[in-house]
């Protein structure tokens, strides 16, 4: 018999005895929970305002708490200027990005050499890039974070290997909360999900030395979210 059958057999044998209900302190009545206990999660998670303005305000506050830089921009010209300002301040000479309507505009606007990941790339070359510019799937007001996937954001490494991750997004990508973000991803991709979906909530961090916060542990030291 295979280990798979052994393990499943032991599980089935064990489950013949019903377990008490959560929080019942030993009440052994057989219990069938609601179809999806988390379906009301929205009512328990931190509250989010109803209007778009409130949600953008919350996103901005959460992003600031996470030490991410969030800028709400009025036009492509402003986006171009914002990027140029960062590139000058940080003396960018090489950037990485991926093919996408907004990411193409952003990466080309700087006039710098761009490493595109779409058709494969040299990892050592990407490691030398000053920034990775990606699009995203959603901005989440509740957390101040973004959702990216291996399909929408140029693969798995682009959003974590370069020291500065710049997300270019559109206003309509803002969702209120985590349940909305999961629903959006499911609607957009199921059943053919990208092999990686990542919720990025602030720049990489650690507290492993005396619980003191340090940014840029292994991933980006800086996260900038530019929203049109």
């Amino acid at each position: 018999m295979s280990e798979r059958e052994n393990i499943l057999g032991r599980i089935r044998e064990a489950l013949k005895v019903p377990a008490p209900l959560p929080g019942s302190h030993g009440d052994t009545s057989v219990y069938t929970p609601a179809k999806a206990p988390v379906s009301h999660a929205r009512e328990w998670l931190p509250s989010v305002g109803a209007s778009m303005a409130e949600q953008f305000e919350l996103f901005a506050k959460n992003a600031a708490d996470l030490k991410a830089d969030f800028q709400l921009l009025a036009s492509r010209e402003e986006l171009k200027a914002a990027l140029a300002k960062i590139a000058t301040a940080e003396k960018w000479s090489l950037i990485a990005s991926h093919d996408g309507e907004l990411s193409n505009f952003a990466s080309r606007s700087l006039g710098l050499p761009v490493l595109l990941t779409d058709k494969g790339y040299d990892v050592q070359a990407m490691e030398k890039c000053d920034a990775g510019i990606t699009e995203c799937d959603a901005l989440i007001a509740q957390t101040g974070g973004v959702a990216v996937t291996s399909r929408s954001a140029g693969g798995r490494a682009l959003s974590v290997l370069p020291p500065h991750h710049v997300v270019v997004a559109r206003r309509e990508q803002l969702v209120a909360d985590l349940p909305a973000a999961f629903a959006l991803l499911q609607q957009k991709y199921a059943p053919d999900f990208p092999s990686m979906i990542s919720f990025i909530t602030g720049p990489s961090r650690t507290g492993d030395i005396e619980r003191i916060l340090v940014l840029g542990a292994h991933g980006p030291k800086k996260l900038t979210i530019l929203c049109l």
Binding site: P22, L45, S159, A181, M196, A217, G219
Partner: protein
């Protein structure tokens, strides 16, 4: 007395008298408590969320067979290779075999308590593989040849000065003792390792049956890089980690972050559903998922304590436990320490050898209250005590209770015993805490209140 219990007692005595250690741990955890309370307060209803999380885990664990089969079918459909391991030895062999087949030399690892549980690093290093822990805390304890102090904060027992000295000695690079500088040393060391490692190894926080995904929670980005750059990826996961639905993560991810570290969300929460798919530009060519039982099915068979498989390894019960905070993480001598470790270790490694952990508790219930998935931890500690004494009763204890039963059931014996007690009291004081005192473990550090000359009964009879 088994060596495990005597080692525990020795270490506990030493650590609880170490005021520097105690002060250091308390300071570290005070910051955690303030942040956790703030994040819990931001929830509209943390209590309703806990109940839903407990019910979701209940559903997952009590239909574990169907959820696992769904998970595996989905994973395999996208080209992931799934392996099943009944024991730690089988899991080690499966992983070593993959490494041999790939002619791998260097393995970059992101944090995985399951790998600590099966002592994977030792086994792989014996076979000649180089294993590099990439999580900063794990990297530090690996350099010290230590086990993690805490399941979430592996190096929380070390000061920056100790870490600077360690880096200086082991990697010859420690510009200062600032946490910032030291973190950047680890960052520099690790960058090339991600790129050159043959295999990336990860643990997992959740597995989603509905969509066939493994979800990994982290702050540093090391796990993201581990699963992006090496050509082969291996994930080791306990079979109990399954959740029914993709949308369940919308609740579990913020709860894990809040209970574990007082964060609204950890920095990276990533769901993997396969190796590199057609049209994708990077990611591993091969992904192996190893499902580990290692006596979890024995815990599953104990319906009374089955809910301890709900554990999401957030570490909240360790952080609030007065015993953990005084004796520290290494004293337990187990992979999983603190209250949840005391509950599950007797199941995973033998009740008689590890029953003492259930006695190292004040039964205050702080752990149960802190648990985001409502595991009835302090009741399980009592159940472990009951099970241990039922299966192997201590002779003198049993005798003492039998005698007590006889005396307490007969008023004549009872009043006689009180008289004898009063008369022999000076004797007890003379031998208190010495080898002659039968209750020395208790009386060594405590004074018995003197028995009054007149009992309540006598007083009642003679009042007026």
């Amino acid at each position: 007395m088994s060596t495990f219990v005597s080692e525990f007692k020795t270490r506990a005595t030493e650590k609880s008298g170490d005021l520097r250690h105690r002060q250091f741990i308390r300071t570290a955890l005070r910051g955690y408590e303030a942040a956790r309370d703030k994040r819990k307060g931001a929830f509209q209803s943390w209590e309703a969320a806990r109940q839903a999380a407990a019910e979701t885990k209940w559903e997952a664990v009590n239909h574990l067979d169907t959820h696992l089969e769904a998970l595996v079918a989905k994973l395999e459909a996208r080209g992931t290779k799934v392996h099943w391991a009944s024991t730690g030895a089988q899991a080690r062999e499966i992983i070593a075999k993959i490494l041999r087949e790939k002619n791998a030399r260097c393995i970059i690892k992101s944090k995985a308590m399951t790998s600590e549980e099966i002592h994977l690093n030792d086994a792989l290093e014996k076979e000649g593989f180089t294993v590099v822990e990439s999580d900063l805390g794990e990297f530090i304890v690996q350099l010290r040849h230590e086990t993690p102090y805490h399941i979430v904060f592996p190096s929380m027992h070390l000061t920056r000065g100790e870490i600077r000295d360690l880096f200086q000695k082991e990697i010859g690079d420690a510009p200062s003792d600032s946490p910032e500088d030291l973190t950047m040393v680890a960052r520099r060391v690790m960058r090339q390792k991600y790129i050159t490692a043959d295999v990336g190894f990860t643990g997992a926080n959740f597995a989603i049956a509905e969509t066939g995904m493994i979800s990994i929670t982290e702050n540093e980005g090391n796990s993201r890089l581990t699963s992006a750059l090496p050509k082969t990826m291996i994930t080791l996961i306990g079979i109990e980690k399954v959740l029914p639905r993709f949308a369940d993560l919308a609740l579990f991810l913020p709860m894990l972050a809040t209970a574990g570290a007082g964060q609204p969300m950890t920095c990276y929460n990533t769901m993997y559903s396969g190796p590199r798919q057609p049209g994708e530009c990077d990611g591993p060519e091969e992904w192996h998922v190893v499902l580990l039982d290692n006596r979890r099915t024995e815990l599953l068979a104990d319906a009374e304590q089955r809910d301890s498989l709900h554990c999401i390894r957030c570490g909240a019960c360790l952080n609030v436990c007065p015993i953990f905070r005084n004796v520290g993480g290494h004293t337990y001598g187990t992979t999983y320490s603190g209250p949840v470790g005391a509950v599950i270790t007797p199941h995973l490694r033998g009740l008689q050898d590890w029953k003492h952990l259930s006695n190292a508790s004040s039964l205050c219930g702080a752990c149960t209250e802190a648990c985001p998935v409502k595991i009835d931890l302090h009741h399980h500690l009592l159940q472990n005590r009951r099970n241990a004494s039922a299966s192997e009763p201590a002779f003198f204890e049993k005798l003492a209770y039998q005698l007590f039963g006889i005396v307490a059931n007969e008023p004549k014996f009872w009043s006689l015993a009180k008289k004898i007690g009063w008369l022999t009291q000076p004797l007890q004081r003379a031998v208190k805490g010495s080898a002659l005192d039968p209750a020395k473990a208790w009386t060594k550090t405590r004074d018995l209140p003197p028995m009054p000359q007149e009992t309540f009964k006598d007083w009642w009879r003679n009042r007026k």
